[in-house]
Symmetry: D2
Subunit: 337 residues, 4 copies
Amino acid sequence: MVIVMNLSATAEEIREVQQRLEQAGFQAHFIRGVKRLVIGAVGNRSAIDSLALEAMPGVERVIPIMKPYKLVSREAKGKSSVVRVGNATFGANRLAVIAGPCAVESEEQLLEAARRVRAAGACMLRGGAFKPRTSLYSFQGLGVEGLKLLAAASSVTGLPTVTEVVDEASLELAVEYVDMLQVGARNMQNFSLLRAVGRSGKPVLLKRGFSATIDEWLMAAEYIVAEGNENVVLCERGIRTFEKATRNTLDLSAVPLVKRLSHLPVVVDPSHATGNRHLVTPMSLAAVAAEADGLLIEVHPQPSQALCDGPQSLSPDEFDILMGQLQRIATAVGRSA
Amino acid sequence: MVIVMNLSATAEEIREVQQRLEQAGFQAHFIRGVKRLVIGAVGNRSAIDSLALEAMPGVERVIPIMKPYKLVSREAKGKSSVVRVGNATFGANRLAVIAGPCAVESEEQLLEAARRVRAAGACMLRGGAFKPRTSLYSFQGLGVEGLKLLAAASSVTGLPTVTEVVDEASLELAVEYVDMLQVGARNMQNFSLLRAVGRSGKPVLLKRGFSATIDEWLMAAEYIVAEGNENVVLCERGIRTFEKATRNTLDLSAVPLVKRLSHLPVVVDPSHATGNRHLVTPMSLAAVAAEADGLLIEVHPQPSQALCDGPQSLSPDEFDILMGQLQRIATAVGRSA
Amino acid sequence: MVIVMNLSATAEEIREVQQRLEQAGFQAHFIRGVKRLVIGAVGNRSAIDSLALEAMPGVERVIPIMKPYKLVSREAKGKSSVVRVGNATFGANRLAVIAGPCAVESEEQLLEAARRVRAAGACMLRGGAFKPRTSLYSFQGLGVEGLKLLAAASSVTGLPTVTEVVDEASLELAVEYVDMLQVGARNMQNFSLLRAVGRSGKPVLLKRGFSATIDEWLMAAEYIVAEGNENVVLCERGIRTFEKATRNTLDLSAVPLVKRLSHLPVVVDPSHATGNRHLVTPMSLAAVAAEADGLLIEVHPQPSQALCDGPQSLSPDEFDILMGQLQRIATAVGRSA
Amino acid sequence: MVIVMNLSATAEEIREVQQRLEQAGFQAHFIRGVKRLVIGAVGNRSAIDSLALEAMPGVERVIPIMKPYKLVSREAKGKSSVVRVGNATFGANRLAVIAGPCAVESEEQLLEAARRVRAAGACMLRGGAFKPRTSLYSFQGLGVEGLKLLAAASSVTGLPTVTEVVDEASLELAVEYVDMLQVGARNMQNFSLLRAVGRSGKPVLLKRGFSATIDEWLMAAEYIVAEGNENVVLCERGIRTFEKATRNTLDLSAVPLVKRLSHLPVVVDPSHATGNRHLVTPMSLAAVAAEADGLLIEVHPQPSQALCDGPQSLSPDEFDILMGQLQRIATAVGRSA
């Protein structure tokens, strides 16, 4: 940690900063610049947060040197993590494709989707039962009925399933019926929920908040892993920017960057990121070229009838074509699909 | 609602859009432009969300005309709402100042803060007991002990209190001890929590999410009001932008704009918005000049000892000076403090 | 400057960084942390830019400590600058209101605007002759004819004038006819133009680019001042964010912050920032409460006939009312209008 | 165009809107909704900009239906454009790789870079002679000397060259020495410069402004094409967002989207977008997978000695490896390199 004192910091103020550092077990190194004093503090990163140095008189700014997460950092582990959910594998140089409808709407819709995505090569079925919707007046999901349909579709097709949980109640239900829990973008900093999914023991798909920095995303994952649950897969799904031509801006650079910073696998959701089915295919291919460990793709038997996110859903036929193209890209980058 | 068909839309596609509209009770008006067909659909706004027109073949885009919220809209009510919490009044041309520490740390700290802000003219005491923290390693709040200290400080000073709730568990505790519930920026789209605070019957302070649009903010308020709880006060607290010289970018234009769009009172939190105590005073004055119904200001007996948000907390002496300046601005804009 | 070496930096890499620093006249101080080596470099800030340390093997990141601008920094000058243009004064605890139409359209329009804003208390007339327009198909300004009309309106009313210049050609013409040159948001990093207005000797109104950080804005001002022209007034006019309910997001916190960082006067343009005449008045009052040295307000004799920016233009009657309200706020914050 | 009248619009106000529309040659169609009147106006898009309807009393908002650009739109041309510069081809299902140093620094540096990128398969040499630098104190380029070195490197290697122009003066010089002119991100809305490069007759590489929407980018291209110069190649180079872990956020979805909206070729600059050499390779591969017609990559013989952008520059050896990987991706997506 580096503490920059302001131009008019007094000797007394400097002494007080030094004292607080030393009391917390840090060593203080002084560097006198042309105009300013800079203090280098050497010690344990996790003690920094309670030092509150920035509010001390004479302090201009505090610059942390170490990353604020530990358990999920690449430094914490010798190698990349592999998360297994049924037959699906995230990491280990494989390409995992999760597919299915935005929301579970009916037995017929879900089964049709499940059969088709399985036939095309997907390794996991997605489907929302508890939908967090911006508008109170939008379809809110089938709830526990949706979970039962997911379990049924899983037993028919053999695909493991993932669904979003939004609070303690939905979590308690979901653990009974599905194989992996999704924490959605809007709940990425719902720390109670992060702790609860951590304790659940189920693998977790953690979406990046649409305005979360990469550091905040990894710190959210830290909450889950700190509960003893290491089976966390990160999912980039677009960030909010000034550009409105797409629903969000897919931050694909985040994929190779996060893989340098963390040992966790990273998948990409081009459907929510773009909100536009015409962009789902090129962005899926791009994601794999950019080192993603997998994809999360919305597929609906009849997108024009979808109760949720129809404009960004692929039809099963479109998904078939995409999977063929993905195969070629995966081979080109030495990945097995 | 206006539906723009794409250049190559077929007669069949147009007919299907028309049918879906008419089945949902809308009338379809056709406007043939030089190149495109535009369909004006007249009917009930709340039926739109389930139409899913954007995913229909031939549809290029769907432009809603009416606002997506109803209960909180200015049109829904003849006049501005007034929310009363104990002796504090939000709205009615008054200026309500909520003040207190970011986090409740100890009885001594809270009581000292409460006494000083009360003496300076604040009408409500704030203090966090359940702190949602980006880092797992930061101070997480005193929990129910903090709530008890808030209740004690309230009985000593007579000030009503507000504290943040983060989940069902903290909500159940908080309703026993405080007068107003805060939903924080990170939970603005935690719809379970919005419904729960709505059902609680307590007045609610709803912070704008740091990346929420104004429409999303008002739709979040709609979730609360739809539970029968009209006592909602909105709080602008800065949005996330590319500019990092301040913690967030205070979107002060949102204040007069929201007051045109909604009947709910709006207050401003310059402490979290700027993250810099030197900017709290000018931004407080600016907020009142911009028609805010009140302010939420962090005050700590010793900012340099604060466990949370010290750099943006005012000392009691600084708060005294601010309150004097606010009085003059309030008078200049015809507001009673 | 602080250089953070990465975890696997070799002794050789460290030695090379040290050598490059010392060859450039810096002293290197080593701080060995628990995991990383941090190097504090003491020397002349302006030499940093050519060091290119970040690309050296073993270097993880370089953190500058000093601000990248010098001439415009508050540290460079004992007191706040005052810029005088005719009878208009920016700074010195006065409130300078520049007003007039977005674009000069005709003699009649400009004269009517000039007379009315003068009568209401404005101290400078604005009007665009060379309009940088996003669309090739929008009104592009009257060019030199517009400049002549500005000069005529000035001689009738006695108001000094300001107009935007967009290139060398418009600059050469403008210096003949107006008193102050405006560099618009889109040209804030047009460094050739910045140098040219610097050399012109005329006072300059430098708008913040709509995506410029505060540091970049001040570095742009540095280009002008470095040509020997100290008469620079900064103008905050809104930044581009995800929020589209207003044309831009007025970053009012930038005003008191820039006044701490720089000695230059700062004015606010609430018209372009909000794009909405209903918000111009509250944001004007807020700007003055937030320590702005002045305002730039679009006033058109008939906003509904304006060829440019009608929706955000005040009518002369609306401007009269605003000026009355401003007077009261100015008095409340101890400013003379 | 659709005009939404506000709730309290009077019959008189509606009549005036109708009159203005009809005088401008539009037909007005009235759609009476449950609460509001909506007017559909049918006519020529380019006449809209001067209508100024949004400022008329009773008008709430004006929604354009047609795109604001014409010449560059996909609808304007039956097929995708192909731009040829010497032996380099942009479009036509080929993959064009431009490479070279950020800035021309010396004959030795440039020649070494040119030889190596040519040997690796690049089809054009880049190098900056006039550098627009945020800081006045950074290296500003060699000017005309740099142009001469580019011409010399071109005659040795046979590679055509591209360099950035920043004003009329640099443009006049550059046309003598290089084959393609680059308009940089900061000048994307420098309309004088756009017109001037349009008139120059040279092919133009138009970078997206770092805060420009896709519509604004295409409107900027429209300025060039309107001068009769159809040889425009668009370059996505990252946008400014809240995320600071990368220099900018590469908006890769913009590539397939722009290719749907416009007939112009699109290339990607992963070097400036990410600012991090470790991300250049994955983002280059991703760009090609996402349908980019080419890449612009910074290569420096010794990145750690670069006067500009060293941290994002590849060494010639790294570039060799990238070109091998690109070949495999290009083949996988049916593109010839």
